[in-house]
C-alpha cells in the first residue's frame, strides 16, 4: 500500500471535460465521488462531464442529463391526460406527475364537473412538485405564488443539466434576459422554458438561451452574456437578483438558518468513500461458524 501511495497522481486537471472510461487518477490518494468510480488502483470517469477536483475528491458534473423530479422544484408541465380526480402531467422526465383536484385550484369543483374547463390536454402549467415517492410517483400542486396555467406564448426545451446556469445566481440570468428583451420568460427546473412577447425579441432570447446552454461550463458566463446582450440590444444592462416572490428557491426556510450557510452538501459521500477501509477489517469479524437454519 505504501508503494501505491507514492505513485498516486492526478492525470487530468480541474475543470477538464472527461469522458466515460477515462483514467482520472492513479493510486489510492484520490477518492471517487459522483460520476466517478474506482477500479483497482485507478479512478475512472463514469459520465461525460466537467471534472471537479475538491481536495482529494474527484467528481464530474454532467454536460447533459435528463430531468429527474425533485421535491420543491417548480416545473413547467404539459397536461397529458385527464384522470378521474385530477390531471396527468408530462414533466419532461421519465416519470409523469399527477395533479390532484384538491391541489389544482382554489375554486370549488362540483361533482361530475368537466375537468377540461380547468386544464385541457396539451396545455402547459407552471406547477410545483410536492411529493416524490421512492417509486418515483410524482405529485404536483398548483397552489403557490406564481403557479398558473400558461396562456399564449411558446415552449422551448433546454438541457436540464444547464437549467441552473440559465437561471443564474438567484435568478440573475433570467432577469438579465428579461430586462434586455422585455419579454415574459419562465424557466422550469425540468428544462422547459416558456416565452411570450415581441416575436423578434423572443428570437433574441432563444438565441441567448442557446448560447448559455452551449457555454454553460466556461467560467465568466454572466459577464459574457451581459456584454453579448448589450451588444445585441444596444441597451445598458444591470445584473440584478430576482425579487423574493419570484425566486426560484422554493424550498421552505430551514429552522437552523438559510441553506447557504449550512454545511456543504457536495463533499464526499460515505457510500462512495471506500479508500482506507480496505486496509483493515471494518466491522466485527465473523470468525465463528455461521448459524444455520433454526432447528425444528
Amino acid at each position: 500500500m505504501t508503494a501505491a501511495k507514492e505513485k498516486s497522481a492526478l492525470l487530468v486537471k480541474d475543470h477538464d471535460v472527461v469522458v466515460p472510461g477515462e483514467v482520472l487518477a492513479q493510486g489510492m490518494e484520490y477518492l471517487p465521488s459522483q460520476g466517478t468510480y474506482r477500479k483497482d488502483e485507478n479512478i475512472y470517469a463514469n459520465q461525460t462531464g466537467l471534472l471537479i477536483v475538491e481536495g482529494k475528491v474527484l467528481k464530474t458534473i454532467p454536460l447533459a442529463s435528463a430531468y429527474l423530479p425533485k421535491k420543491y422544484d417548480v416545473i413547467i408541465g404539459r397536461v397529458q391526460d385527464i384522470l378521474m380526480t385530477g390531471w396527468r402531467i408530462d414533466t419532461n422526465s421519465p416519470y409523469s406527475a399527477v395533479l390532484p383536484l384538491k391541489d389544482a385550484t382554489f375554486d370549488y369543483i362540483k361533482k361530475g364537473a368537466d375537468l377540461t374547463a380547468f386544464f385541457n390536454i396539451d396545455e402547459y402549467v407552471v406547477c410545483k412538485i410536492f411529493q416524490v415517492t421512492s417509486q418515483n410517483l410524482v405529485d404536483v400542486s398548483m397552489k403557490g405564488p406564481g403557479l398558473r396555467k400558461l396562456q399564449g406564448g411558446r415552449i422551448i426545451k433546454v438541457n436540464a443539466a444547464k437549467v441552473p446556469r440559465l437561471i443564474g445566481k438567484r435568478g440573475s440570468m433570467v432577469m438579465m434576459i428579461k430586462s434586455a428583451t422585455g419579454i415574459q420568460l419562465i424557466v422550469g427546473q425540468n428544462g422547459i422554458v416558456w416565452l411570450n412577447g415581441d416575436p423578434e425579441q423572443e428570437v433574441l432570447a432563444i438565441e441567448a438561451i442557446r448560447k448559455i446552454e452551449e457555454e454553460a461550463h466556461v467560467p465568466g458566463l454572466t459577464e459574457r452574456m451581459k456584454k453579448w446582450l448589450e451588444k445585441k440590444t444596444g441597451k445598458k444592462i444591470e445584473i440584478q437578483e430576482m425579487p423574493e416572490e419570484e425566486s426560484y428557491d422554493h424550498r421552505p426556510p430551514r429552522r437552523d438558518g438559510p441553506r447557504r450557510d449550512g454545511p456543504r452538501r457536495d463533499g464526499p459521500r460515505r457510500d462512495s468513500y471506500r479508500g482506507p477501509r480496505r486496509d483493515g477489517p471494518s466491522g466485527p469479524r465473523r470468525d465463528g461458524p455461521r448459524r444455520g437454519p433454526p432447528r425444528r
Partner: protein, 257 residues
C-alpha cells in the same frame, strides 16, 4: 397546444417574423454531404437547421414488369422512424411517409430525369432496378423538399455496380452513372393565415392551413404538384405559391454540383 401555437405563429407572422427568426421566404442554413453510405451506390446527407435527412440509392439487377419488358424501374420509399421525431410510431408506413415518398417519386418520374429504357440489360429478362430510400434522422419539417433534393443529388452521384454473370457485384462500381436529363426539385410552400412560407419547420407544418408542393426543372417547367392541408386554395394563392416555389428551386440548384 396546437391552437395556442398556431395563434402564436400567426401573431409573429403578422410582423413578418417566423419563430426561428427567419424571413418568410428564407431557407434554413444547409450543408450537403455525398457518399456518406459506403454500401449504397449513391448517397446524400442533408442537414438543414435541425432537420437531418439521409438518402441512399441502391441499384440492383432484377426482372422487368411484364407490361414494360424493356424499361428499368424506379422506386422511392420514405421511412419515418420514432427516433427522428417522438410523434412517429413504429409499424406499417404512415400516410405521411407514403405521401412523401410518392411526391418525391412523382417528381423524378414525371420529369423523365431518368431514361428508364437505358436501364435495360436484356429485354424481358434483366433490367437495373433503382431504389431511393429517404430516411430522416432528425425530423424537423420539410421532408419532401429535402428528401427530394437529397434524392436527386444521390441519384446524380450513383454509379452502377459491376455486372458479373448476370449478377451485380456491389464491391466493384463501374464509372457509369444514371444519365439524368434534368434535375427536378420539389419545393413546398405552406400557407398559414395569409402568409406563404418556404422550408417549414415541424411546428409550422403542424399548424399549416394548406400546402402545395411544386416540382420544377431547370427551365422552370413544372413536372408535378401535390396539395395538402385542410383549407382550400384560391387560383390567386396557387399562382403566388407556384411562382415562389419555382424561384426557390432555382436558388437551390447551386447546391447540386
Amino acid at each position: 397546444m396546437n391552437n395556442a401555437l398556431k395563434e402564436h405563429i400567426n401573431q409573429a407572422l403578422q410582423k413578418g417574423v417566423r419563430l426561428d427568426g427567419r424571413k418568410l421566404d428564407e431557407w434554413r442554413p444547409m450543408t450537403i454531404e455525398t457518399g456518406t453510405i459506403s454500401t449504397a451506390e449513391g448517397s446524400a446527407h442533408i442537414k438543414c437547421g435541425e432537420m437531418d435527412v439521409v438518402v441512399g440509392v441502391k441499384i440492383d439487377v432484377g426482372k422487368p414488369y411484364p407490361d414494360r419488358p424493356d424499361s428499368g424501374t424506379l422506386m422511392v420509399s420514405a421511412e419515418l422512424r420514432p427516433m427522428s421525431n417522438p410523434r412517429y410510431e413504429l409499424g406499417p408506413p404512415s400516410i405521411e411517409s407514403i405521401e412523401a415518398s410518392r411526391v418525391i417519386d412523382r417528381g423524378i418520374r414525371e420529369s423523365e430525369a431518368i431514361d428508364e429504357k437505358s436501364l435495360c440489360i436484356k429485354k424481358g429478362e434483366q433490367v437495373w432496378m433503382v431504389n431511393v430510400d429517404v430516411c430522416p434522422l432528425n425530423h424537423d419539417g420539410n421532408l419532401i423538399d429535402l428528401g427530394g433534393l437529397a434524392g436527386i443529388i444521390a441519384l446524380k452521384e450513383a454509379r452502377l455496380p459491376k455486372l458479373v454473370d448476370g449478377q451485380a457485384d456491389f464491391h466493384v462500381h463501374t464509372k457509369t452513372g444514371l444519365k439524368l436529363s434534368c434535375l427536378p426539385i420539389p419545393v413546398t410552400v405552406v400557407k398559414i393565415g395569409d402568409n406563404f412560407l418556404i422550408d417549414p419547420t415541424f411546428d409550422e407544418m403542424s399548424v399549416a392551413d394548406a400546402r402545395l408542393t411544386v416540382t420544377s426543372v431547370e427551365d422552370g417547367k413544372l413536372c408535378s404538384m401535390q396539395k395538402g392541408g385542410e383549407q382550400p386554395l384560391s387560383i390567386d394563392d396557387i399562382d403566388k405559391m407556384v411562382t415562389l416555389a419555382v424561384k426557390t428551386a432555382k436558388g437551390l440548384r447551386k447546391y447540386i454540383k
